[in-house]
């Protein structure tokens, strides 16, 4: 618990073997770095099937934030957990499309429920 006290801006909850990470609107790259560190340590300690990044609070994403989030997702998936982005707002998506980002490596779901079932089904398929 001592780790998470460094990082009060993101909340991390464990549900059905999945970590649900809710990012606040004013997130910075330093916050993400600390958050990713926390998540990686939790995956190491206990078997975590997947990580859900809840982006529903974020009202705008630029290429910089997108790159950081993409990098964070890649890092987490290296530890063997499935990463799903959840709750991207329509406005955020259309701005990302305008920025011509490459979203081929990203798994996304409409809401937490669909994100959870996506991770649970994914693991079932792998078994």
């Amino acid at each position: 618990m001592g780790d998470s006290s460094n990082n009060l801006s993101t909340s991390i909850t464990l549900v059905k073997g999945c970590l649900i990470v809710t990012l606040p609107n004013d997130i910075t790259d330093a916050d993400i770095k600390v958050g990713v560190g926390n998540i990686l340590r939790r995956i190491e300690k206990s078997s975590i099937r997947g990580v859900i990044l809840n982006l529903s609070m974020i009202s705008s994403v630029d290429t910089y934030l997108f790159k950081i989030l993409e990098k964070a997702s890649k890092t987490i998936s290296l530890m063997g957990a499935v990463v799903v982005w959840v709750g991207l707002r329509p406005g955020v998506v259309s701005s990302l499309i305008d920025l011509n980002i490459d979203a081929s490596k990203i798994k996304a779901a409409m809401d937490l429920e669909q994100g959870l079932s996506m991770i649970l089904n994914d693991n079932l398929n792998m078994c």
Partner: protein
Amino acid sequence: MEDIIQSFQEADGMIKMQILEQIPTPVMAVDKEFRVTYMNDAGKRSVNKKWEDISGKKCCDIWNSSHCNTEECRMRKAIDSGKMHSARTEVIIDNFKKPFEYYAVPLKDVQGNIIGGLEFVIDIAERIQYEERLKEQSHTIREMSTPTIELWSGVLVLPVVGVVDSMRAQHMIESMLNKIAETHSKVIIMDIQGVAAVDTAVANHIIKITVATKLMGCECILSGITPAVAQTIIQLGIDMVNIKTKSTLSDGLAEAFKILNLEVKNKE
């Protein structure tokens, strides 16, 4: 020909005055204090006043437009800068608001000092009316052209008919994403049967739309691909491997049911 020009140049003021009088749109001259020194027939008619009521009065008392006595007044700008200025404004005549476009140019004496300004006024009521109608119609067409229909619970259909340009693609993305967020749909079928031709630009828009739906957590199925379209896509070397494509809308719907783990059965 030169004789005619020269005789015109030498013509007396009366003829030149008459020429100005015959111009069908209002023309007005003011001095540096904005007192009216001249107004032609059309001008007098449009403000509905006689020359005796106009002569020597300030132009803002006669026209009473939304620009009068403000920084916006183009006549003031023209006199101050020595250059032509034009703008649109509204004038209240007999309690009716009328849109006008006016051009103000500075008047100079022989030495080149600015002694006042000349103003041409054009009635643009009709043009404004047309512009508004056009705006309305294009809005209607835009709304008509991008309907997103909820075909089944969790399945949206976006039929695309006609030409896909970047404006329309943008509008399609917006209406689609909002609909996905609203209905929490898992599958969207984009039917391009009605698209006459697919070139690289159109294909690019389609790919962008599929990426956008993917980021929303919604799967995109492309249906209605005709043989001709399939051939052009391959000839143009467009990579659509990452997109689920089907030839007809019903195939698309069957695929959507498969994704949603639904089954359509005959009644025993």
